[in-house]
């Protein structure tokens, strides 16, 4: 009996100490937004620059062993507010372990001007193992400001007036063909959507067709936890987790309700417009 108990205890500990591994490469390069070419910095899954940040997931009761390679010639950084803040030397690397994160969504970013402001900001989802999970990283840019930061490490002294509004580094209509943005599912599915505001302005999101339940926010002042909402704001730096359980089939937009943000270089439609594609 005693032996059985000890074996069970050890087994449980082994299970609870299970580790998942992932890798991030901090890459800088130029990418297209509309007809423009602008400078960006992203946390990629591979050493090759791609126009998106890799989103991370830690299953419940597991830890994440994360290897980060900085391919930039400048010191970069990996920060999750309240959890970790670690610099990574130029062309250097580091390994970090993340565990004991409560179920929810977190934003990781480089706290360097030439990191976060160029787009180095992604989403980490902890838990929600048995759900379909999506991550929407909202980030807007003023194109020439990105170029100035990348080339001179300075921001131009002009008012911030963003001209491209991105979800997972894409703008409408590209969001409609981006499998990380466009949600596909079926009636009755439990779909987790983690939504981060990695930009410099407040965004407000509106769902067509459905209400969603707000499950979690990293913002202690968010008073809408457990509310059922079709529209809600996302403050700068905030990450909100919502649960969508579609009750009917159809194609429905989800978009920023600050309607300046549904444009590309001032033209509608564009920017932060996404799509829900729900089958029976």
């Amino acid at each position: 009996m005693k032996t059985t108990f000890l074996l069970s205890f050890l087994l449980l500990n082994l299970i609870s100490l299970a580790t998942v591994y992932d890798t991030l490469y901090i890459n800088k390069d130029t990418a297209h937004v509309g007809i423009e070419t602008r400078h960006f910095c992203f946390y990629n899954r591979t050493a090759d620059f791609t126009q998106t940040n890799h989103h991370l997931h830690i299953p419940s009761n597991e830890s994440l062993e994360l290897y980060i390679q900085n391919n930039d010639s400048l010191i970069q950084n990996f920060t999750i507010d309240g959890v970790i803040n670690q610099d990574i030397p130029a062309f250097g690397s580091t390994s970090i372990t993340l565990n004991n994160l409560s179920e929810g969504s977190y934003r990781y970013y480089s706290n360097k001007l030439y990191g976060e402001k160029l787009g180095a900001s992604g989403i980490l989802i902890s838990g929600y193992d048995n759900h379909n999970r999506y991550a929407w990283n909202m980030y807007e840019i003023q194109g020439f400001r990105n170029d100035s930061i990348a080339l001179s490490l300075n921001e131009p002294n002009v008012n911030y007036l963003p001209d491209f509004f991105l979800i997972n580094a894409n703008h409408h209509p590209n969001t409609l063909t981006d499998s990380t943005s466009r949600i596909t599912g079926n009636v009755g599915d439990s779909i987790i959507i983690s939504i981060a505001n990695s930009g410099r302005m407040i965004h407000s999101l509106h769902f067509h067709g459905y209400h969603v339940q707000v499950l979690h926010s990293n913002n202690p002042n968010n008073f809408q936890i457990n509310w059922s909402k079709d529209s809600f704001g996302i403050e700068i730096g905030e990450v909100i987790t919502v649960l969508l359980v579609p009750d009917k089939e159809g194609e429905y937009p989800v978009h920023d309700h600050n309607l300046r943000a549904v444009t590309n270089a001032g033209l509608y439609p564009g920017g932060m417009i996404n799509r829900l594609s729900i089958q029976p």
Partner: protein, 387 residues
């Protein structure tokens, strides 16, 4: 002449039934104008009601549309303008065909019409707005409120009750766009310079049609919604004794009483206030730019005591009595006007001229039920119960 939009509704609808077929007639127009607080007029593209003689003047915000919980609602929509429009039923979770988004359903061409349908499954506050070239069409004024009432002046079944109601729609306007909508410039540079509640600003909000009149013992339901390009921060004064119960057409699980309430674009709230005796104060509404974070403007919702012997529709605007009524109703108007009587499902029943002062309206030929009395000049609609 100033046009004061009066969407204030006096609540007298205890006992009205739900589960009926309701039809609204709505038109989209692009040839009307709106007077700003400083007297300037701007072009608006907006919605108005549509009656037997055609579209009625459109307004900013659009006419308030109401139905009851569990009603089956039809919206007969007529586009009497030279460009495509739709009606998006914001927050009502309608199916794809009725969602009013051109890319996933359809747009209504000039001089064409359609009928949108939905079931009023949840009581609460919603918006309707055009979803064609949305950034521009909303900036021009194509938005309004839809309210789904739960019978008995409660927010939901066995929910908190109220005996008075005020509806406030927060919005803004970039005059340069309204002045030149054909070449509005880059829409990401939309920069509002007029900040409104129910289409009014500053001192215009002291108009009795907009002031909350209440006494100790009253339970006043405030419906607040934001269709602006700003973050609205609502600051409640001490003594108003408010509780936030609903948002976006849903009961919230943790009713609360915040000193300030942030309302982002697209959100709606239901708040019940039980002011203390002799409560005279104001609710402050701050408009913060979502890009710069700067405070752009402040407006106020004014509160005052209920004057003796008056309904809270105010002496200046309009008052009616008795309501509910049996054979007749007295209607006091401060100006000559034109009265249209609509049935609960939106059918035009009768029309007649109204003179300044007291008017005796015979109701004996009307069957029992709910009616809407619309005064065209005053742009006021009052709900009447015929017993």
């Amino acid at each position: 002449m100033r046009h004061f939009l009066l969407i204030t509704i006096l609540v007298f609808s205890i006992g009205k039934s739900s589960g009926q077929d309701i039809t609204w007639w709505v038109a989209s127009k692009m040839d009307d104008n709106h007077t700003l607080w400083d007297g300037q007029q701007v072009n608006i593209w907006a919605f108005g009601l549509y009656d037997s003689v055609g579209p009625i003047r459109s307004t900013l915000p659009a006419p308030l549309l109401r139905a009851n919980y569990n009603d089956s609602v039809h919206i007969n929509f007529f586009n009497v303008s030279p460009e495509d429009h739709t009606i998006h039923l914001h927050g009502l979770d309608v199916n794809q065909a009725n969602d009013g988004v051109g890319s996933t359903s359809f747009e209504i061409n000039p001089n064409d019409s359609t009928t949108y349908k939905f079931k009023a499954s949840y009581s609460g506050s919603y918006f309707y707005h055009c979803h064609v070239l949305t950034t521009l069409h909303l900036a021009m004024g194509m938005y309004g409120y839809i309210i789904i009432d739960y019978p008995g002046n409660v927010l939901w079944q066995n929910g908190p009750g109220y005996n008075k109601e005020r509806v406030y729609l927060i919005s803004d306007l970039d005059k340069s766009i309204n002045d030149n909508p054909i070449s509005p410039g880059p829409l990401n540079e939309h920069d509002p310079d007029y900040f409104m509640i129910n289409g009014l600003s500053k001192q215009d909000l002291k108009d009795t049609s907009q002031v909350v009149f209440a006494n100790g013992g009253d339970s006043v339901l405030l419906r607040l919604g934001n269709m602006s390009y700003n973050k609205a921060v609502v600051r409640f004064p001490a003594g108003i004794n408010h509780t936030v119960y609903m948002s976006d057409g849903r009961e919230i699980p943790n009713a609360f009483s915040p000193d300030t309430l942030v309302i982002h674009s697209g959100e709606r709230y239901e708040i019940i206030c039980k002011p203390s005796q002799y409560f005279v104060d104001s609710i402050q509404v701050d408009y913060y730019d979502q890009v710069s974070g700067n405070l752009d403007e402040t407006n106020y919702i004014y509160w005052n005591e209920q004057p003796d012997g008056l309904s809270d529709m105010s002496k200046k605007a309009l008052y009616v009595y008795p309501n509910p009524a049996i054979n007749y109703i007295n209607l006091h108007s401060e100006s000559d006007d034109y009265l249209s009587i609509y049935s609960h499902d939106g059918r035009l029943i009768d029309e007649q001229n109204i003179k300044r002062g007291d008017n005796h309206i015979i109701l004996s030929e009307l069957s029992q039920g709910m009616y809407f009395f619309n005064l065209r000049k005053m742009k006021t609609t009052v709900k009447i119960i015929k017993q």
